[in-house]
């Protein structure tokens, strides 16, 4: 036995042994650590939201080019924004704007629609067209090595279109079935009726057409719409990605130089008056499984200084599952599967709405509860804690809007088409931080005090069973045609 084995460790060594034993044994054998009991504090504030600046230039024919350098990807987004949307269709021919946009790429004097489709797919491009209320966007996402060819395809499609009755018939058929198919979605029916009522007798109502009007549009109408609006001085080309700005601007100049300018006059429609009376519209949808409710009214355009305070207000009302509508209608009352609030902005105004999916037996109390929540915000501003939580969500969530190719492209097109202040979003966090109880109270009093419009989508038999407590109900079919008006107490 060696002498060393007789060494007796002192107290310090005992402690060290204990520490070592604790360290060597698996950490999962101990009691719960204290840090698990409460949520951790965040690290210091995150880096600022920095969006690449949009640089603009005008070419000699009036075509604008807007570019944003966005490194880190081999993909480039090429867009053409034409400042002509659904609102620009003649009142007698709704859908012309949409059909014209869909006819772009359906053939030229030299190339068939199939040949153009082949050209797009041969460069691996993802092509789409969106026709919105005020503008139309043609979007190509493409590998950067094929940008030049994508520009060439876009030029061919936009500068040399041919509008044949044969191709138009095919486009009309697709548009018809698309709209007819969307009627199976109660949310679509509700949203369309909501806009139709809010924009009654206003140019924006043109956008709310049903599929049966599509048949009235001829190739001549499409050619006429194209000739009027598809002009370089009414369009912007947008590019974002890892691009060399000088080179792409030069290439765009070469490709689009033959596009002939023709100044057009396009006035911004004056905003319609907001809804100011109790109005319940019921869309009969024989296939509806539950009731869908829309409640809302007109608000300011996105360029208005009230935009950010209202954004916070909308968040308080129904931005998430923690907001007032969800907590009240679903969690507290059990009327709804969900209830949220949203906004949409056009050139001359915006709209806000609450949207809820409701059990049919609770249509009336749910609708009144939504109206009550809206009114409550107009009479008593949210408490500071509610406002701060809404701001925290919006500031934190803002960067997610720009993460995807589509999200970024949508933002850029919107900023350019609606001529928004470039800093609207990347200065968004700062502007949101400035929102306070007073500014929220002011916008709530200004925009929520008006009586909101109520639109319900549900089965025809629910009218008798569940809606007898409404004073007056306008009943519409799925195409938006008024069928009858029901009054409380009258024979139905």
């Amino acid at each position: 036995m060696s002498r060393a084995s007789r060494v007796r460790p002192g107290p310090a060594l005992y402690l060290l042994l204990l520490a070592a034993a604790a360290a060597v044994s698996p950490p999962w054998l101990g009691a719960q650590e204290r840090f698990r009991r409460t949520p951790p504090l965040p690290d210091a504030a995150p880096q600022e939201l920095k969006l690449p600046p949009i640089e603009r230039i005008s070419l000699p024919n009036g075509l604008s080019v807007a570019t944003a350098y966005r490194p880190g990807s081999q993909l480039v987004t090429l867009q053409l924004v034409v400042r002509a949307g659904e609102v620009d269709s003649p009142p007698a021919l709704p859908s012309v704007a949409a059909l014209t946009a869909r006819m772009i790429g359906k053939g030229t004097k030299l190339l068939s629609a199939d040949a153009i489709g082949d050209m797009i797919e041969s460069i691996g491009a993802d092509y789409s067209v969106d026709v919105l209320m005020d503008y139309t966007v043609f979007t190509f996402h493409v590998l950067e090595e094929f940008l030049d060819r994508a520009l060439s395809v876009l030029r061919i499609m936009v500068l040399d279109p041919q509008f044949t009755e044969r191709e138009l018939a095919s486009v009309k058929r697709a548009a018809y079935y698309d709209l007819a198919g969307r009627k199976k979605n109660p949310e679509f029916l509700g949203w369309r009726q909501f806009l139709r009522m809010l924009f009654e007798n206003h140019p924006y109502q043109t956008a709310t057409y049903a599929e049966d009007v599509i048949k009235f549009v001829s190739a001549k109408d499409v050619a006429s719409f194209y000739s009027r609006f598809y002009r370089p001085d009414n369009a912007v080309i947008l590019l974002s990605g890892t691009i060399d700005r000088a080179t792409v601007v030069q290439k765009i100049g070469v490709h689009f130089a033959p596009w002939v300018r023709q100044p057009i006059e396009r006035a911004v429609p004056a905003p319609p008056p907001p809804n100011a009376r109790d109005r319940i519209c019921y869309v009969e949808d024989p296939e509806a499984a539950e009731a869908t409710i829309f409640v809302g009214n007109l608000i300011m355009p996105a360029s208005d200084p009230d935009f950010f305070p209202f954004f916070v207000l909308k968040q308080v009302l129904g931005g998430t599952t923690r907001s007032r509508l969800f907590m009240n209608l679903r969690e507290s009352k059990g009327y709804a599967y969900y209830a949220f609030s949203e906004t949409e902005f056009f050139r001359s105004c915006g709209v806000y709405w609450a949207r809820a999916l409701v059990r049919p037996e609770f249509i009336v109390p749910a609708a009144w509860e939504i109206v009550r929540e809206i009114k409550a915000l107009s009479t008593a501003a949210p408490v500071p804690a509610e406002i701060e939580e809404a701001k925290s969500f919006l500031i934190g969530n803002l960067p997610t809007r720009f993460e995807s190719l589509d999200g970024y492209a949508d933002w850029m097109a919107r900023a350019v088409a609606l001529e928004l202040d470039d800093g609207q979003w990347d200065k968004g966090p700062e502007r949101l931080k400035l929102v306070n109880v007073e500014s929220v109270r002011a916008v709530a009093q200004n925009y929520l005090a008006r009586k909101p419009l109520v639109v319900v989508v549900g089965r025809p038999d629910w009218l008798d069973r569940f809606l007898r407590d409404f004073e007056t109900v306008e009943v519409y079919d799925t195409s938006g045609t008024l069928k009858r008006t029901l009054r409380k107490g009258e024979e139905r």
Partner: protein
Amino acid sequence: MASSTNMHFAARSLILILMTLLVAVSFPTATAQETAPNTLGFEVQEHRLRNGLRVILSVDSSLPLVTVAVAYSAGTIREQPGQEGLAYLLENLMFQGSENVGPLQHVGFIQRVGGDLNATSTPDRALFYQTLPSNYLALALWLESDRMKSLAITPAAVEITRTDLLKEHQDRLASDPYLESFALFDSLLFPDFPYGHTLIGTGTEMRGLTESDILAFHRTYYVPDNAVLCIVGNIDIVRTKELIARYFDSIPPGMNIPAPPLPNFRQENEVVVAQPGFPASSTGFHLGYRFYPMQPNDAYSLKILEYLLLKGNTSRLTDRLLNRDRTAHHFSGTLEERHGVLALKFFCLNNNTVMAERSQKAILSEIDRLRTNPVSADELAKVKRLFKMDYLRSQSTNLGRALFLIDAVFSGKPMIALGGELNKYLRVNPPSLVSLVNRHFTPQNRVMLELGLK
């Protein structure tokens, strides 16, 4: 003197051993670290904690965001007969609270700071993810670690969640007349229980599940050594590793996690099943091929073949059925993977049975053409461009990148090899497609479900 020296030597040795042990255990995350080459356009780091948790990190500082995703090898293939719906039910119950987080508080914590979150179940995994401001990384790790360590559910929560899921399922069935046929087709294409049963079963099995069934499933499969934690975004690697160690290192590993069941498909001839009384306005059919087992590079060829047949308006089958023959008014298809088993599935709707038969023949003739006629260089180049576009696009967000990395883990691809993966797809050539079709597109791998009208 000698004894004193010996004593000092012994004490010093013990101290050195202890210090070594302390150092060793204080860096539990420093094992088996790898760095993939940067051909993906982003860096990936990988390591494992002592409890077996696999961690994958990737930095992207372009926006002040981070995505935290946790995937468990706990999908429907883990369910036993009579347990259908268990994986899906548990996925939803993971939001109903844990030892330190109340019911639905997980959602509230993430939404309060502006984050988005979701979860999903597939045959091979249960996946949970959130994207939030990057300075709240610790919050996401705290939440995910708490529900991994100590799920706390009540009978009431089980009942409410189960009722909601069954109601949603009934609504989906009511609004989509084709949905049930997809479930039936999957059970034919994957003719063994673990691979072929549906996410929710008939509903009867889910109603019979008890709280202890659910907790046992959680104890068995929701454990660190059966999970992958993937973090992508605006992160500092050192700080992130510290936080991961803090929140996950003390979670015990699982005990005897069963290996996922291997598929057991035996089929002598083509299976053709007719489902009459179909409650919809169109007749149609599902047609599919199952591929198992495969050679190592077959999956790359098969993906390119999927694009050749199905992707875009000019793809062979889409063009033939919808544009040229016009025998179908709806046609779609996809390549699906279930824990290493690949299947190419087509779904076609027609105006009548004659058109349905013509569509079937057209699909089979297009596949037959591939057996002998190599694809042209131009067509293959087009297909690869479409694929490359989608491949890169799928990784263009933090969440997309996290899901891509988790997919790679579940497919058994080493992180270090991912940098060269795109090239494997782009190197697929006409002879490899001919070979693939001749070896795998056989009647023994083919299943057809014909849908007849009422």
